[in-house]
Symmetry: C2
Subunit: 499 residues, 2 copies
């Protein structure tokens, strides 16, 4: 590893493990309260994780606290792996998920805020384990906020520089003070929003336990539910579903915009090109189309509603359409109804939505709306350039000309994303999935969504996948979550070349 | 249309129609020889087409023979439409395909060298009509050679400038002399290769009629067969299949390279980066994987072979794998076996091959190998740029640095291609196709391949599609064939803005 500052890398990993362990200690009381056998497994996992963290921390004393780009990439990728490896200990030690492949899959699905599950009977799980499962989402979400808003722009990844131009905090290029300051402000928002949603869900009729779990899984755009039928369980509690829709929308919005909104600068939100396309261009239009589809699917509407409808059939159609569109676009992956059962067109629409992603700087995954905007504008300009080859016409975003390199960055991200999607689909067919499930699982894992199509549809789970397919999907969730480049750059020869 | 030189556009369309009509007169004797009722329909279609052509020619006397870019785009797109509209007359007048939607689909499938068919019993068709059907492929192939090698580079489309750097002919930027000279040399090759294949197929055991038809459908990478079971009909004639494999390979190779090879400059061929990736990187590797798959599919091998195997089972596996891989990569679309029946992995592999395309400057459709090379190299460089943001590192192709604008051009082509693919898949689900057939039909039509997956698999046809779906696929075949930009630019506002 030559001239890499490995000491500081391991120190960071140590801190990551220590924090992760503390969250396990928070899960412990839930298990005590419910008098579950799993409690000792969770406690032991916490002790082991904190101990690993302390060892990593104290045995690595960096001579310099200077972090270069290369260390940055390694900290991010290895940090996520440290979370995932220690994070599966509660499942393994408690015996809730005894198989390592399954435990790792469930854990990385948590931290990557994907929400795909191998559990076949969620409601039979110990409460402490379910809390821990939701906590992995929430911890992953915390990681992502700082990652996308403060770290990736400095690492020059996939055009992330562009999205974060206005991130709060002192505008210095030094990594440390900026991260600390930005992180504090955004974490405050993240915590506040989670608590607010938690209270609202409780008021709307959820239990305390379900409310805290679903709030954590919403704000992180994760999608793990404590119910076997996901949010379809609350089909007779429309307000619960509307609250989740609202908070999914916020979780899929750039946290910097939410920061401004909470400081009273609402006009900043509606000046944002990405927000306008996200809300009106994608969610509204897709919802309207879906409402029309659901409206004509009487049979499905009836089966998706277990209880007497509170506001009648029309409201139910609107609610399910809004919920499922928002859930997929924000890459949350909660489910109130199975869109693959509506009609072919619905499957088509939702599969296309698998590739939008939410806003940059949110906890959502996928390609992200801003990248689509820049790409489409650039493609459109190519026609103009074909007619006027010597004209220099820059792409404009948020009323400013976008630097050429950033456009290139974004386009390359999309190309790599699509190539990985295609190659992964083929690999998953090799690992035993049928073609439609393979493309569904690939798109869903890479986009950190959760449900897919085929045999991994919104009402199925990932338990029936082969071991190889589970590990491969785990890898896709990781690289998708870390914006591809962060992980993939570690596999390039120039990364390991000495400067 | 303001300042457009419409006179010269219509004059070109007139010439196109006249040439098209003459090919109908060539189809006529085939019908006479077989004493078919269809002969008068074909003859009348010829007269009507030539008359339309003569009217267009003589009523448009351009004041200037100067052709600007805008006229260029219009001539190309309207030229293909002129071919397709007049080209369906033999089907309609003879009553062979009485329905306009079906006739238009079959015709544009011919000229775009796609090879998707709505015919359910090909062998029951009049011979004159079958010849005409193959002729539409061959005419389309002629159009494409000149289009990609001589016209599109001048129009600045999708990086086509790059591929044709060494096109034979005087290196002037003036449209006229270059096109005429290049066209003459390449047509000579096209005709020679077609005749050679025709003779070889006859020697290998085909009838005269089948040999001429299959030769026309191979060199144009079209894929219409005169047999219901396509080339699986010749499963007991391995040499026929090997001859077709060989000529598909040539048809998918840049004709400029073939020109050099025929002039004895073989080293030029193997210096070409695109050719190496096309032959070794894609066809060889995909064939080896497919051979392994087919080898383990005993049952399929037996059913795909109607007659005693001439060289044994191993040879048969190699032949079918080579044939199907070459057929899909070159976008020909001939079929000896149904890859969707092998296993899920085969479907995955072949679906990925739907997106490679053959070489630029060949008659093949799709994205084309050279674009993938430039894109992948550029994406790879992005990782380097992330580490060294200030370094200027150009993409190198054929040992030369590629102009920045051309890289942009190529990448934009890919993005637009993938977006059209995704949107088209959704639209086809709206038009009644199930999801898997929709993505198959979209990828196959856009890439001018022919067979797809789902209900339009290699052993199915497109007859069961709804009328809307057939027209939509026709549109996809057209824009795919004309490298997207040529057609789509006509839908942009700046095209119609006066200079």
């Amino acid at each position: 590893m030559g001239n890499l500052n490995t000491q500081i890398i391991f120190r960071f990993l140590g801190i990551t493990a220590i924090l992760n362990g503390f969250f396990m200690f928070i899960a412990f009381p839930f298990s005590i309260y419910h008098e579950e056998a799993a409690k000792w497994g969770i406690l032991n996992a916490g002790f082991v994780t904190v101990t690993i963290g302390l060892l990593l921390y104290f045995f690595n004393k960096p001579k310099s606290t200077n972090i270069q780009k290369k260390e940055g990439y390694l900290i991010v990728t290895l940090g996520w792996l440290t979370l995932s490896i220690t994070g599966m200990l509660p499942y393994l030690f408690s015996g809730a998920i005894p198989n390592i492949t399954n435990a790792f899959f469930e854990t990385i699905s948590g931290y990557s805020t994907t929400g795909s599950s191998i559990l076949t009977n969620i409601e039979a799980m110990p409460k402490g384990i379910l809390f821990w499962r939701s906590a992995t989402h929430w911890i992953g979400g915390m990681g992502i906020i700082v990652l996308t808003i403060a770290i990736l722009p400095l690492l020059g990844i996939g055009g992330m520089q562009l999205f974060m131009a206005e991130a709060p905090g002192p505008s210095t290029d030094k990594l440390h003070p900026r991260i600390t300051d930005t992180a504090k402000r955004l974490y405050l928002i993240y915590v506040t929003l989670t608590l607010t949603q938690f209270l609202l869900l409780k008021i709307a009729g959820m239990t305390w336990f379900d409310a805290i779990n679903h709030a954590m899984a919403t704000m992180s755009t994760g999608g793990f539910s404590t119910k076997n039928s996901s949010i379809a369980f609350y089909n007779n509690l429309p307000f619960v579903q509307y609250i989740i829709i609202f908070f999914m929308l916020i979780a899929g919005t750039n946290f910097v915009l939410t920061y401004f909104a909470l400081k009273g600068k609402i006009q900043k939100v509606f000046q944002s090109e990405e927000f306008k396309y996200y809300l009106f261009g994608i969610i509204c239009i897709a919802s309207i189309i879906t409402i029309i589809i659901v409206h004509f699917q009487d049979a499905t509407l009836q089966t998706s509603i277990n209880h007497p409808m509170v506001f009648g059939k029309e409201e139910s159609a609107i609610r399910h359409a809004l919920f499922m569109v928002t859930s997929v676009v924000t890459t949350t992956g909660f489910v109130t109804a199975d869109f693959t059962m509506w009609n072919f067109f619905a499957t088509g629409i939702f599969f296309a939505l698998f590739f939008t992603g939410g806003s940059a700087g949110s906890t959502s995954g996928g390609i992200k709306v801003v990248r689509h905007i820049v790409m489409l504008k650039n493609s459109f300009l190519e026609f103009k350039k074909a007619l006027h080859p010597n004209a220099i016409i820059p792409v404009r975003y948020d009323k400013k000309a976008v630097n050429h390199n950033i456009v290139f960055n974004i386009i390359s991200f999309f190309i790599i994303y699509m190539l990985i999607f295609i190659i992964s689909s083929v690999i998953l067919t090799l690992f035993g999935l049928d073609f439609i499930s393979a493309i569904g699982a690939a798109a869903s894992s890479l986009g950190n969504i959760g449900p897919a199509i085929g045999s991994v549809s919104p009402v199925d789970n990932f338990n029936h996948l082969t071991t190889a397919a589970k590990w491969f999907c785990s890898f896709l969730m990781l690289i998708g979550r870390l914006e591809l480049f962060t992980v993939l750059i570690l596999f390039t020869p120039f990364f390991w070349r000495k400067i």
